[in-house]
């Protein structure tokens, strides 16, 4: 361990890493009780009763948040343990562990803010007595006391202001090299332009997209035989995080390739892989995801856009599309839509859905959607610009019959589920990038801004924000990386990916909001980057599964593990 600066835990002679490990185990027990409580409420007969699931939604979602917090305790104690074993655990790392444990344990006991207006409390699950049993040990009290100690906090923020601007090191040669390259790329080619792109609602320049393609961003996780790099989801997280730290509009380019690539690589026919994957990997084919409809967002299973198989006079068969999609990101520039449509009209639920690999012509400012049978318009938005969002109408737009994903009608929803798991991990990583951007902007401003004769960083209410922002950024990152590692080792990880996305999106938003507060009036000026980051951060808990939907998925998963 590094003992160069004031180290509280050493002075008190406690091994934080060990203590944290023990506490995380106790908290896991608390989670088991929480699951019991929800099982009793929503599955009294041994299966989930949808009506009860909905009536008890607050309790059910409280469970999702408790599980997410316990996951944070487990993952951050593992993280510190790993640093310690490799002799890399620094003072700042230890302080961050203390802050996250101190704060999250208090919240577990007294109420977790699911957002600013809804709190998940022990009473919601009837867990008051379990708090005393699992969350009231001496070790917990000791960490909470250190975390609340003003001298500790002052020392911690000192370490933070010295080290925060450095890249996190993972101790893996490849990952550290990848991070370094993309951090430099973002610092040199993205950050200096992000504010202008946002202000002018510019599309990310095509030559930048080409350069990212050459660097291998779009084929990152695709197999080498299809022009990819066969790198894992963890590498994808590092790249997405660093690019999003520069600008979410750039960090999100890869989301579409990741989803389309995963859909085709895992469900496509050999011909479909051959036709699309190399182009997606190189960035020549820009894909977009077309799922959402004006009347069906969270409730995708009931969507109505339909595809009819018809034989043209020339003899070949095509799908003709009728209906509407909305919120389709980067749609004008996209060459390929992964289009979720109803091909089996007699099936009204998810069983009637299929995915079409629908090629379209690129549009321009004058002709947004030049393809036959397709029209649409831009949706003006607060943030998350750079690719732009569109509403699209289909009136007889044609897709060759052979472009039905995997040649498998009615499998669309299933095929989508796996790709969305990757999409959620990627979105969690983007959120971590945005959270870091906000943290760095807030910290920099707090150091530079002087009031009452000193840097405002010296005021406890200013550095108190920054300490938790930094600690939660690590928490979100470690939960995200864990879900990526699970996926890389071939396990399903919808639970972990869901928790990562849920938490990281909240952290990105709270970091941006707190960083804006630290900026005072200047934060509200369009000229300051934090005003953009705030708008960008807000969308993360809305798309790729709104937080409320995410919480249901997590809780369902936990309850099902018991049935």
């Amino acid at each position: 361990m590094n003992r160069e600066t004031l180290n509280f835990c050493d002075q008190l002679n406690i091994n934080v890493v060990e203590v944290a490990h023990g506490i995380a185990q106790d908290a896991s027990k608390y989670l088991e009780y929480a699951i019991d409580s929800v099982v009793a409420r929503v599955a009294p007969d041994g299966f989930i009763n949808s009506q009860l699931l909905e009536t008890n939604q607050h309790a059910v979602h409280s469970l999702a948040w408790i599980a997410t917090y316990v996951e944070v305790l487990l993952r951050t104690s593992d993280w510190a343990d790993c640093l310690d074993r490799e002799n890399r655990l620094g003072d700042l790392d230890q302080s961050m562990l203390v802050v996250i444990f101190g704060e999250y344990l208090q919240q577990l006991k007294n109420g977790i803010p699911m957002n600013q207006v809804e709190t998940a409390r022990p009473v919601d699950l009837g867990l008051e007595s379990r708090v005393a049993e699992c969350l009231s040990s001496n070790d917990i009290a000791q960490l909470e006391n250190i975390s609340a100690n003003p001298d500790f906090r002052l020392a911690a923020v000192q370490q933070l202001s010295e080290r925060e601007f450095e890249s996190p090191i993972m101790g893996d040669e490849t990952l550290d090299l990848v991070r370094e390259q993309f951090r430099r790329f973002a610092d040199e080619k993205i950050t200096p332009h992000a504010q202008t792109w946002h202000d002018k609602n510019d599309l990310v320049p095509l030559d930048l997209i080409q350069e990212l393609g050459e660097m291998g961003v779009f084929g990152l996780t695709l197999p080498e035989e299809w022009g990819g790099s066969s790198l894992g989801k963890l590498t994808m997280c590092v790249v997405s995080e660093e690019l999003s730290r520069g600008y979410i509009g750039v960090g999100s380019l890869g989301t579409r390739s990741e989803i389309a690539g995963e859909l085709i690589a895992s469900s496509g026919t050999h011909d479909q892989k051959n036709q699309f994957l190399p182009g997606i990997a190189s960035g020549e084919i820009l894909p977009t995801v077309a799922f959402t409809e004006p009347d069906f967002g969270s409730d995708l299973a009931h969507l109505k856009t339909r595809a009819e198989l018809v034989t043209r006079s020339s003899g070949d068969s095509v799908w003709r599309i009728f209906g509407a999609k909305t919120w389709i990101t980067h749609a004008v520039r996209a060459d390929l839509m992964t289009l979720l449509v109803r091909t089996e009209p007699e099936e009204r639920g998810y069983k009637g859905l299929s995915i079409l690999l629908a090629e379209k012509l690129r549009g321009n400012e004058k002709h947004l959607f030049p393809s036959e049978g397709m029209s649409g318009s831009e949706i003006e938005v607060l943030g998350y610009r750079g690719m732009r969002e569109y509403e699209i109408g289909f009136n007889g737009f044609e897709v060759p019959a052979g472009n039905l994903l995997g040649d498998a009608p009615g499998q669309g929803f299933k095929q989508m589920a796996q790709a969305m798991e990757s999409g959620r991990i990627q979105t969690a990583a983007r959120s971590v990038g945005v959270a870091r951007n906000a943290l760095e902007l807030g910290l920099r401003y707090a150091i530079d801004r002087r009031q009452f004769g000193k840097s405002i960083l010296n005021f406890p209410r200013v550095y108190g924000k920054l300490l938790l922002m930094a600690a939660e950024t690590i928490a979100a990152r470690e939960v995200t990386y864990f879900s990526a590692r699970e996926k890389d080792s071939g396990r399903r990880c919808d639970l972990e990916a869901g928790m990562a996305k849920l938490l990281a999106a909240r952290v990105a938003w709270s970091n941006a909001d707190a960083a804006m507060q630290i900026h005072g009036g200047n934060g509200f000026a369009l000229e300051y980057s934090i005003s953009r980051v705030l708008c960008d951060a807000r969308v993360l808990s809305i798309f790729e599964g709104a937080s409320e939907i995410q919480a249901t998925v997590i809780a369902r998963n936990l309850v099902n593990s018991r049935l």
Partner: protein, 249 residues
Amino acid sequence: MQKIMVALKRVLDYNVRVRIKSDGTGVTTDGAKMSINPFDEIALEEALRIKEREKGVEVLVISIGDLVCQQQLRTGLAMGADRAVLVQTDQILEPLTVAKVLKVLVDQESPELVMLGKQAIDGDNNQTGQMLAALWGRPQATFASELLIKGEQALVTREVDAGLETIEVDLPAVVTTDLRLNEPRYVRLPEIMKAKKKPLDIISLDELGVEAISQFQVVLTESPPERQKGVIVKDIGELLGLLRKKGLV
């Protein structure tokens, strides 16, 4: 031109805020980010550009240090070098020993060009390239800001106090690089994967038959004094008065 040898030193990343050990024996590197010395990275970039212009050139990267230096060599391979050699030692070597090691490798490898940074950003010695040229008995061109290979010669523009000076040296030669020579490329993800399969040989310092000699000793490492707060003066008169009081004019 058939072979270029580039030396890469592992140093504390230039972005890291350097922290002095409390006992003054040096700086802490525990857990801190380490990188290729930026001047060496520029040397490698230039070597790779030559390789891309003239077909059939092999670029060999060398590092000297403990096993962790493989990380910087892998980075070099991912940038585009063909082969790497690590001379393994736990000792901190002084420039003369480093130059001797490079000389042994030069004898083994017979490159037409050896490129390295004008200095490393940790020790700021600015000696190794010059010493190597002397040991090797070949020309040196230091502080290069432009490099052109013309058959058996290299045309090198150097950044010197008076401005830019262009000299012609016969190959084989040693070239040390300055900051403005080029901007190193970004490493591409597919290249990172390819680099894992490129050869990286490890030889110990003893095997090379070079003995590490110590000619100086670090007595104390300390932070530079904190910058004093400035004062704003009304006019030249007041400025001169203050300077006089401090005995500076």
